[in-house]
């Protein structure tokens, strides 16, 4: 087998070497550029602003609604009975009776007068007692009514609180759901966009690499054509 290459055959081989060498390098360059592009994409990906959930700061405002029911009180709960007036009345009655008794003594009135006086005194005391009882009954009635109103108001406040809490929680839940949906969609879009871009760029680079390989193949084919012509002179030496 002869390894001697001569004349135009050697020139064709050199041309083939140049062509395929250049194409090979172009393929390597394309691969390198693809790697660099990937680095650029990664950098953009790693340094882009984070997707925010616009609702993630939503708080349950129910806490702002305060239960005011504990501040409610029954204004009639401690109503005092107006005993001072009753006491004055009793005192006046006693003074009046004492005066009457003095008059009776001075005029020498009999036992019948004393009895009448005692009955008058008793009557007066009974009236006072009845007045106090009436006041106490009124007070009790008002206290009960007050208590009833208070209970109603407390219930109304608690119901309001319950409503506020439930409405707020519902809104928060709704907002959170929307936020999660937004976050998902944004991520999804970003992922898709990244995939599309990377795919497009890689496709481009692959096309370049394929073209480079085709160039290389055609260069080598030409070179082998030259080698084939040399083959005829094999073993000449």
């Amino acid at each position: 087998m002869s390894f001697l290459l001569a004349g135009s055959a050697a020139m064709s081989i050199a041309g083939g070497l140049f062509g395929s060498g250049k194409a090979k390098r172009a393929a390597r360059r394309a691969a390198k550029q693809a790697k660099a592009l990937k680095a650029k994409l990664n950098h953009l990906e790693n340094n882009r602003q984070a997707i925010i959930n616009p609702y993630d700061n939503v708080t349950n405002l129910a806490g702002l609604a305060s239960d005011l029911s504990n501040q409610l009180s029954n204004p009639f709960a401690n109503l005092g009975v107006a005993t001072q007036a009753a006491e004055m009345k009793i005192e006046q009655a006693d003074i009046s009776l004492a005066n009457t008794l003095d008059t009776l003594r001075a005029t020498g009135a009999g036992a019948g007068g004393a009895t009448a006086l005692a009955q008058a005194a008793l009557q007066s005391k009974k009236e006072v007692a009845a007045s106090i009882e009436t006041q106490e009954a009124d007070n009790e009635k008002q206290r009960a009514q007050g208590e009833q109103v208070l209970q109603e108001k407390k219930m109304a406040e608690q119901q309001r609180m319950q409503k506020v809490a439930m409405d707020s929680a519902a809104r928060q839940e709704d907002a959170m759901s929307k936020g999660r949906a937004y976050e998902f969609e944004a991520n999804e879009n970003r992922e898709q966009s990244r995939i599309n871009r990377t795919a497009a760029q890689l496709q481009n680079m692959q096309n370049q690499a394929s073209q480079a390989r085709r160039d290389q193949t055609s260069a080598i084919t030409g070179m082998f054509g030259s080698l084939a012509s040399i083959g005829a002179s094999a073993y000449d030496g």
Partner: protein
């Protein structure tokens, strides 16, 4: 005048370029025109395989006839010779592929000039033939290409096939290729444009302008600054909102820098040919020879791999380059949008209101 090694290297590269680009000077050198070796090449493969057929036959014969005992050496010889043609073509293919960078746009003359001489020899360029004292040989075992002649240091250049293979395999290269910077720069600016369609074929369209949001507004109206246009006249121009521009462009600039630094030798080539001295691609195209940073150039063997400091220098120059060539034209001296505000006007001098003080101010040139 004394030259340092890097300068000599650049000069060699520039001279080889001049010659291979068809310098007219060559036509006047009769010895070159008379050289019968031009276009004939060095016959590297011919010489390398000279006598190998006989060698192969002898070794094979000895093995076949059992004349060599265990024939280990002969077996090795036969194997090497069988593989040699394929290995040689592969080696030369890789080598010529690497050398093709020399013909690429904006080739950095800080690359090793000996490779440019070698390429000129392989290309059979006039002035780089045996007649000028150049010599090119290929040793088969181990496979090494040896080049010598004018311009080569220390007796010549040697490139081992295994070494080249390992450099390529590791993603390295013999020569740095200058990357295209314009598409990247245009892409960064495009993020500021009013419309993405203002970029076509990696260049700006004639009506390209940056979005209004990147100019300062006060109370909903554009803020102006006055620039003198001569003869005591001035005009209003828009004030760019540099903070906003930077905020918008920064991530894209940084990503682009990260991409460039992925291939450090190319980043060095870009720094030497364009970034350091702020030379645009258009200016390079119009230049007779690729411009370079001269003595401020980075020398490949000294700076690679790039240190943290050099990466920062690269990043800063990259940003400056974008700023100067791809941002400034869109933000500097931009006329107001309102046609009425575009008029040129007389510059009114501010006076103190006191005639005596004014005369003093005039005397000292504070006012006219």
């Amino acid at each position: 005048m004394e030259y340092n090694e890097a300068e000599i290297n650049r000069l060699k590269n520039l001279n080889v370029k001049k010659i291979t680009n068809g310098s007219n000077g060559l036509a006047f050198q009769s010895d070159i025109l008379a050289d019968p070796n031009i276009a004939k090449g060095f016959g590297v493969l011919n010489k390398a395989f000279e006598g190998t057929a006989q060698e192969f036959a002898q070794a094979q014969l000895a093995i076949n006839k059992g004349l060599c005992g265990d024939c280990i050496e002969e077996q090795k010889r036969v194997q090497m010779l069988q593989q040699a043609p394929g290995a040689a073509t592969e080696f030369l293919e890789e080598l010529t592929g690497e050398l093709s960078v020399i013909d690429s746009e904006n080739f950095d003359v800080n690359n090793n000039a000996e490779y440019a001489i070698l390429k000129a020899m392989i290309d059979g360029q006039a002035g780089f033939t045996a007649a000028q004292g150049f010599k090119l040989d290929l040793d088969l075992n181990p496979m090494v290409l040896k080049a010598s002649g004018p311009g080569f240091k220390n007796g010549g250049l040697e490139i081992a096939a295994d070494a080249l293979k390992s450099i390529i395999k590791s993603g390295g290269a013999m020569l740095a290729e200058t990357p295209k910077v314009q598409p990247e720069m245009v892409d960064i600016t495009s993020k500021l444009l009013e419309d993405q369609s203002m970029v076509q074929n990696e260049n700006f369209s004639d009506d390209a302008k940056i979005s209004e949001q990147f100019f300062v507004k006060e109370d909903g109206k554009f803020k102006y600054e006055q620039i003198e246009v001569g003869e005591g006249k001035a005009r209003n121009v828009l004030v760019p909102d540099m903070e906003r521009i930077e905020a918008k462009a920064k991530p894209f600039l940084n990503a682009s820098i990260a991409m460039m630094l992925e291939d450090e030798e190319s980043a060095v080539a870009l720094y030497n040919t364009m970034l350091k001295d702020n030379v645009t691609e258009d200016e390079q195209l119009q230049s007779d020879e690729t411009k370079n940073a001269g003595n401020d150039s980075w020398v490949y063997r000294d700076v690679l791999p790039l240190s943290k400091e050099n990466k920062k220098i690269f990043a800063d120059s990259y940003k400056r380059y974008w700023n100067k060539n791809y941002l400034e034209p869109f933000v500097k001296n931009q006329l107001p949008k309102n046609p009425a505000d575009q008029e040129i006007f007389e510059i009114t001098e501010k006076t103190s209101g006191d005639p005596m003080v004014d005369s003093l101010l005039k005397e000292y040139g504070v006012i006219k």
